[in-house]
Symmetry: D2
Subunit: 340 residues, 4 copies
């Protein structure tokens, strides 16, 4: 890190910073410009960097502290330079391929999930999604079928062979869901629920971490590091839109995050256009855009009767619309050298 | 709610909406303008409103659905028109008063928390804060002393008589923390951790719910409704800044939320300038601004040695700076008819 | 519009709203629900709608006024349902096609603009861009060559046959630039410079209106209506990213705006990935994503020596990188049924 | 500035940066850490800094360039450390004082502006505002009375003795408005209309520059530097809210900007709660908060009949509400050691 001293700092302010760096095990390096003195800290013991940066900022005469190294390690491309592949059951997410996870927002009935599973399988989806535990903004809305829903999802896997992805919201559910699901999804609202991240990292299943809708890519990567520190690198990141002032769509899909993540981490990245835009007619163009931008996969909401859905009806595709979209996805994927 | 039909909708699209409303137990009312037909839904059974709105949006010919009623009830001023008071131990938060909760971000050592408790008590704080479990953006940063920290906080209460407020992050901690603390705080990152909200509502202690840094006031109120639905109305809301594009401060403090909340709910509202701005020298003006805007209380970080703090040093006031601020707070509170 | 009365409004509050609507030439329609009374205003004389809505909001007992009709007309699909084509010289922007406007941020020297023009022409660009007047955040930065730059741009057109697009910043420049350029661009910072919009609408050339980086799609369309009201419908809209909290890129490209605009207006829409992301290596994936999302064209910054550029070097492609990107653009365009 | 090299940069990448710095007149200083090499540039010729930073970013092996010095000079506290005072006619804006500029959004009729001027004068306002040229989001809304409105405003000054502030939108109006008005206001939408800023700086009158609603404080200061570079330091900055995701208010008032500006510049800062919140009942608490936060003045919309206003009715105070607010403003100002 680099410590920028304010123009009115004094010699003993500089000396105090240097002394403090020494106490914390850092070397240093002073550069005196015409208007600012700058102190470089060298050889930082990694795990304390942020704490020390905060402490230095509180010293007299310090204008600001500029971090130089990345605040994540296990998941960074500096640690592992090659893009990696993560398998969810038999579905592949990584270079050269586009995996497609489709299904309803919530599992509502046996008939609904089985019918959807068959339809998305036939259209070419490679995995099945469905929520058993639902984070709803109102306590009076449908909260999901719980473990009963999970059983229905497993039954749909049985019948179609599609691996299953479902959300975990509560640390107490992690182990039981991990016994059944092929991949545990952590939703946007829980991206910084650190206890949940730690438990997820230990559960032995691949984890899909959705971006918090108000998190920078840097914060998302730091949350991902929590999972990695828990013990697994089978992590898929999922862009699902961020909150902005624009109100024509539910969130604003930040497709540039895909390319930014590619530069920073070797983990695969998928995109969820359904939650990002929240309007079914806008899902196909954004799904194609995500593929063109280099996503390793997609997460798409499909419901046999969107106008009867207990959640997210307005953004769900019908099976017919999904089948049509899959054909376009194949063409765009091929244009950029990937298969589906 | 009101259903706005698109200009190219047909008669049978309108008929289908009307039929669906009937099935769901709503009356209706059609208004045909020159360019749009509008259908008013009447007598809505409350708990299904959002689900039905979503389903209607997915019907053909529907341009959008406009909700009319508020999506929260127990905590609304329509339910209870008088501003209320919540007690944290012997500290009062409500009309005519400004409660001041002060203390360090993290409890670090026995000496540190006792020394801070004495100092803030002497300066006039009415409650003590301190984190035992810390949500940190990096898994490699100090994560708090845990239950040992909680014991130290209780010891500080013993000595000073100040009631104590501490954060709960994990559903599994709720009961044990509730045995000791006078008030449980739910942090911004967990504002939509619904399982935690439900458990908190049942624990028998007052809850302080911080605003998610990317949540609208409406979403914050809906999250609050989760706590209320759990069984308590002893809830204090805490504005702590929202995420915006401005980078001169850590977050942007949205003081207008105080007046907006006053209009919507009877619950008391406090403000946390320390987390909002993240820079110690900006805390005093924002604390005074919050009081002038009508806050029922403040949450202020104080540390005996900010340059040695294990978290949030740059935004912590020294005991001396806090004592000076308390005097200004008293003057501004008095100017608007409150005491401290 | 619909006027929602507050729960504590009285009969004479309703009567006053009705009386006011009558005075302003509106019919009405009252719907009394259990918790709210709602008044529908019918047959609104268009041009006063926003003024009247503001006045009604200020009346006693009014909770809020919900607009129903769109605040733009000439440019809406309700006015003209078919997607249209706009020609910039011989370059086509509209259905079935992807136009590519390439060139440097600023025109710096005769050699630089001629060399770039030849290179982008050869790679397949259909129009040439280059700034003669530059809006720079610092008054001490290079401000452009002015009219001399415009002459150099015309010379590049002469040699390559590419039509030219350049920015106008000041009402006093409109006519003189319109004499030379094939298309006048209005930049993001001037999207709500209404006097400039009005002058541009009268100048007789096609106008490219960039989205203000903090404008909703709705505000952008209203600004576009200013140009249309000035007398032309030869308008191209350009998405160039919006300001968000994300700091890994310069702005956040909102590709869903393309599909939203398609629904609202018949005007063609292009995308400028260079300004949106601000980093050359991220431009190609975002350019491809924009094409897949349905953009009618692209605006791409190309500079023969990005490391010598007087502005926007970090986001400029070299001619070689641009040529490679053009090949990928052709493949993705073809995959979704467009040619370049 | 500091150049951070990427971990895979090579020795000749470093050499090229050093060579380039030399060519541009900078000295340098290399610091080799374990994971990154960092190059400090020394003795930068100010006016080219941003251009050179951009060029260096485009060189191979450069990860990023971190600016160290502030990008503004004439208006910075480093240039002039004491907070200054700006006079608008006989109204003072600076330390120890709170100036209050009140009046209608638009000048509508002679009677309306005279009546308002008398009322705000009596309540204690120190200057009168009123718009003659109005930037409206719709071309079909009332656009202001133009120069006729300016004459009416001057008449109100004549009668009440209040100095007058009015907005200028178009470079062609600057001189004529400057002949009459005591202060020219540049609105949020024109904050980066650089030609207008330059003309304003030359006109000989004090300028009030409103913050662009999507501008950081840093960008706002750079825009201010344009005015200063034009020749005047009689500039008042006006916080008027920024755009965020929150939709309960029109904009989000960023009161921390006042303290941030105080640290960066000696220019006075005022606040406009009316435009920030857009709802009359929220104006008083935010006006008081602004005073407590240290604002040197306020801008408040007052209209004799808000429900008849041609613009901004919902946010205008009645003369009676304004008079009551002035009394509270006096009390809060006094509590923090200022008079009104």
């Amino acid at each position: 890190m680099i410590i920028v001293m304010s123009p009115d700092s004094r010699e003993d302010d500089v000396a105090l910073v240097v002394e403090r760096l020494g106490e914390r095990g850092y070397g240093h390096h002073i550069s005196r410009g015409e208007q600012r003195t700058i102190i470089g800290a060298i050889g930082a013991p990694d795990h304390e960097k942020e704490v020390v940066a905060g402490q230095l900022t509180a010293l007299p005469g310090v204008e600001r502290v500029v971090p130089i190294l990345k605040p994540y390690k296990l998941i960074s491309r500096e640690y592992n330079p090659q893009p990696g592949t993560v398998m969810i059951g038999n579905a592949r997410f990584g270079p050269g391929h586009v995996g497609v996870i489709a299904g309803p927002c919530s599992i509502e009935t046996r008939e609904q999930i089985l019918q959807t599973a068959r339809a998305v399988k036939e259209a070419g989806a490679t995995a099945l999604r469905g929520g058993a535990f639902k984070p709803r903004t109102s306590p009076y809305s449908f909260q999901g079928l719980g473990y009963e829903g999970l059983e229905l999802l497993a039954e749909a896997r049985e019948e179609t062979g599609l691996p299953i992805v479902t959300e975990v919201m509560d640390v107490r559910q992690v182990d039981r869901i991990a016994e059944v699901a092929d991949c545990l999804q952590i939703g946007a609202r829980n991206m910084q629920n650190y206890d949940l991240l730690k438990e997820a990292g230990r559960c032995g299943r691949p984890i899909m971490l959705k971006r918090g809708f108000s998190s920078t890519v840097g914060e998302w990567l730091r949350a991902t590091e929590y999972i990695a520190a828990g013990g697994t690198l089978d992590i898929i990141l999922c862009e699902r839109g961020i909150r902005t002032f624009e109100d024509a769509t539910r969130f604003t899909m930040d497709l540039s995050s895909i390319a930014v993540l590619r530069r920073e981490t070797f983990l695969p990245v998928v995109a969820d256009p359904s939650h990002a835009v929240g309007i079914a007619s806008l899902v196909p163009p954004m799904a194609l855009a995500a593929v063109a931008a280099g996503a390793d996969g997609l997460l798409i909401e499909v419901h046999p009767r969107p106008d009867q859905a207990l959640s997210d009806g307005p953004q769900s595709l019908t099976p017919a619309a999904f089948a049509e979209l899959m054909q376009q996805i194949r063409r765009v994927a091929e244009a950029i050298g990937r298969d589906v």
